[in-house]
């Protein structure tokens, strides 16, 4: 019996070791990807905030190697192993993830990912940034805006993308748009990525059963996939299109775990009743001791014997 457990344990440990040692291969075409903007103090500061919210719980404080115990273990951002990645490699790993690291492509925008990388690079004194050459896109639009509408009769969300070109506002055609609903732990992709038509419009099928807040509001987020071409472009809108969901807070009703003012009635009654009943008898006994004292013989009478 013991032997069998041992061999099972051994197999388990070996598997863990193997997977821990397995290298995280980044496809070659992703390795050379570069940021389109130069890292600065402001990007590093924004990156630090994003790092604290999204990364720190597993990767710990950079340089302190206080990573959480997972298999394979997270790597300290300040370590040589982390800094050996190319910018593109980092971008790929953060966006895609692998067990047990989650994917961040729906949570962080491409710009956000680069901002985080700028923060990570601040722990590498030897790092010198190489910025991607400005790519001249055919569209050459600026100030891209996404406008979201709710088409009630069709249960669809319409996104209209426009930008200015030659100082004239006009629709952006052929751009890939992704629609997300904001959830507690990240963004939920709605429908799938779709391209705008000649009018800059795109339609997303919206599920009928998506839970919203207590009055049915859902926070929507639309984003262009190709941020390198169009710049950072995202639009947030809150629409009343979800199923109203009301989850009462756990401390709202009377409960065992609540404050004393919210004691369950049955407990309040049984505790109070029991204590009062027992102490009523105790006080009765105390008063009867007085009665004993009073029913003694009066002074002029003699004792019983």
């Amino acid at each position: 019996m013991k032997k069998r457990y041992l061999s099972l344990l051994l197999i388990f440990v070996i598997t863990l070791r193997l997977s821990a040692q397995q290298e995280w291969i980044v496809p070659a075409e992703n390795l050379s990807k570069l940021s389109t903007f130069a890292f600065s103090d402001s990007t590093r500061k924004a990156g630090m905030n994003l790092y604290i919210t999204n990364c720190k719980s597993c990767h710990g404080d950079p340089g302190k190697n206080n990573v959480i115990k997972l298999v394979p273990p997270p790597v300290d951002p300040a370590s040589d192993r982390m800094q050996a990645n190319t910018d593109g490699g980092m971008y790929f790993k953060i966006s895609q993830g692998r067990m047990p690291m989650p994917t961040f492509k729906n949570i962080l925008s491409p710009t956000d990912v680069w901002v985080v990388i700028s923060y990570l690079r601040s722990f590498n004194p030897k790092y010198a940034q190489e910025v991607a050459p400005k790519v001249l896109t055919g569209a050459m639009v600026q100030n891209v805006k996404i406008h979201l509408n709710w088409l009630k009769e069709k249960d669809q969300v319409q996104a209209v993308v426009s930008g200015t070109k030659d100082k004239i506002e006009q629709p952006v055609a052929g751009a890939e748009v992704k629609l997300f609903a904001k959830r507690y732990f990240g963004n939920l992709l709605i429908d799938e990525a779709r391209n705008t038509d000649a009018q800059g419009q795109v339609l997303f099928n919206f599920p009928k059963d998506l839970p919203g807040d207590s009055t049915g509001y859902v926070q929507l987020l639309a984003r262009l996939s190709d941020e390198e071409a169009y710049g950072e472009s995202k639009s947030e809108t809150t629409l009343q299109i979800g199923v109203p969901t009301y989850k009462p807070p756990l401390n709202e009703q009377r409960a065992m775990w609540n404050v004393v003012q919210k004691t369950p009635i049955w407990l309040l009654l049984s505790y109070t009743f029991t204590v009062l009943a027992v102490w009523a008898f105790i006080f009765y006994v105390l008063f009867q001791i007085r009665a004993i004292s009073k029913s003694g013989l009066s002074k002029d009478q003699d004792t019983i014997d």
Partner: protein, 449 residues
């Protein structure tokens, strides 16, 4: 206890003999002074240890992040457990009609009062910030077993004190003229406490009614006090505590500890006060049989408590049981179970071991074992929490009691012994009127008054 009483014994000459015998040791003697001086000096050392703890905090104890309940809480459970015997002897056995408990009922009540009174203090010793004690009443939640515990411990203490005091009233009246050898203040204390008792039938009638109320009331209260104490553990899901039989398990264990304490005290009273005539071999024999009974019931609950988890072997329970049976705590565990439970059951089946001296030795071993049994309930569970123990120094992962907390624990025991000493030395330790009534009633056929 019958509701009527034959007061004929008050005119009987045998009352004088009985009163003289029982009152002879009462008062301040040299032995008493030496003993109290010894207790006081030892207690002063323990109070100094408590001063250190108040000054530096609980860091001077062995309590750390994982084992945050150690000797103190085990000691608390022990005190509550031992105090329950008052209910067992006076109420349960007395009301069934066993006459032999009459001379030892007050001994059991003294133990109940002393141990219940100190139990509250023991809890305070486990507080790093004792000045926050009033917070229990200011912010306590009715939902918490801790508040239930505070309620029942207080109630039980009051009930036990009344159950000690009320049957004492006629004895104080009988004694007040007969304790000429004691100091004035003790005589006037007798005068005050005897609340103008004149042995009238009406007074006896009221007294017996009150005692009956208290005897009935104390049974559910005693059950509550130790069941709630067990719930402090059993309402958690931790291995070793997550048990549905923890209430009866604690209760039956309490009867074992308490009966052992009664036997020890009976022996001391009998030999020191020369009361062999009243605490006879027969009484020790009956106590021996009682111990066998309560120990077998407790053994039955022990088997349940360990066999069922050992059959299922859920991971956490398995680790816990392994620690107890063959691991770190195995030596203590088996010593406690053998010397505190199994051996006494076997030995006390033989008449020889139910004689005063052998049963006194067995009782002493059992009482010590029952203290360590509480330690085994409290500590090993905390040494194996569900979540991995990490990011703390290695020394924090196990519990190593310090001298300071041992001294504080000793101090609480000393205080209980002091209360017992004072009650035993200043008041009749055997109920004079009940023994006299019993004696006259069974031998003479006096008309009822």
């Amino acid at each position: 206890m019958s509701s009527e009483i034959n007061t004929g014994f008050l005119k009987d000459k045998r009352l004088d003999t009985i009163a003289a015998d029982i009152l002879r040791p009462v008062g301040i003697t040299q032995g008493f002074l030496v003993w109290m001086a010894f207790l006081s000096i030892s207690l002063a050392g323990c109070i100094y240890a408590y001063y250190i703890q108040c000054d530096k905090g609980l860091i001077v104890t062995g309590l750390r992040d994982y084992v945050s309940w150690g000797m103190y809480i085990a000691n608390f459970v022990f005190f509550v457990a031992t105090s329950l015997v008052g209910m067992l002897i006076s109420s349960v056995l007395g009301m069934i009609g066993f006459k032999w408990v009459k001379p030892i009922a007050r001994i059991a009540e003294i133990i109940a009062v002393a141990f219940a009174a100190i139990a509250g203090l023991v809890i305070v010793s486990d507080m790093g910030r004792p000045e926050r004690l009033p917070y229990v009443f200011m912010y306590g939640r009715i939902q918490s077993p801790i508040l239930w515990d505070v309620t029942v411990v207080t109630t039980y203490l009051v009930l036990s004190t009344l159950l000690y005091f009320i049957p004492l009233i006629p004895d104080l009246a009988i004694s007040k003229g007969r304790i000429g050898h004691t100091p004035k203040w003790l005589q006037s204390t007798y005068e005050t406490l005897s609340v103008k008792w004149d042995h009238t039938p009406k007074q006896y009638q009221i007294l017996l009614k009150l005692v009956r109320i208290l005897l009935i009331l104390i049974i559910p209260t005693a059950f509550a006090i130790h069941t709630v104490t067990s719930w402090l553990f059993a309402v958690t899901t931790r291995p070793g505590w997550d048990s549905t039989i923890f209430g009866p398990y604690f209760l039956t264990g309490a009867f074992v500890a308490g009966s052992a304490a009664v036997v020890i005290m009976m022996y001391f009273v009998r030999t020191n006060y020369k009361l062999e005539k009243y605490l006879t071999d027969y009484h020790f024999d009956m106590m021996g049989k009682l111990i066998v009974l309560v120990s077998i019931v407790y053994l039955y609950f022990n088997i349940n408590e360990f066999l069922i988890p050992a059959y299922k072997l859920k991971t956490a329970e398995a680790i816990h049981l392994q620690e107890l049976f063959v691991g770190e705590h195995a030596f203590l565990f088996w010593t406690v179970q053998l010397s505190g439970l199994i051996l006494p059951i076997i030995l006390l089946l033989f008449k020889f071991f139910r004689k005063p001296f052998p049963i006194f030795i067995i009782g002493t071993v059992m009482l010590i074992a029952s203290w360590f049994k509480r330690l085994l309930i409290v500590v090993p569970t905390q040494e194996n929490p569900f979540l991995p123990r990490q990011f703390v120094p290695d020394a924090w992962m196990v519990y190593q009691p310090t001298i300071v907390e041992t001294a504080i624990t000793m101090g609480t025991i000393l205080m209980a012994v002091m209360i017992i000493t004072v009650l035993v030395k200043f008041f009749p330790v055997i109920p004079i009127w009940e023994v006299a009534e019993e004696e006259c009633h069974t031998n003479n056929d006096q008309p009822k008054v």
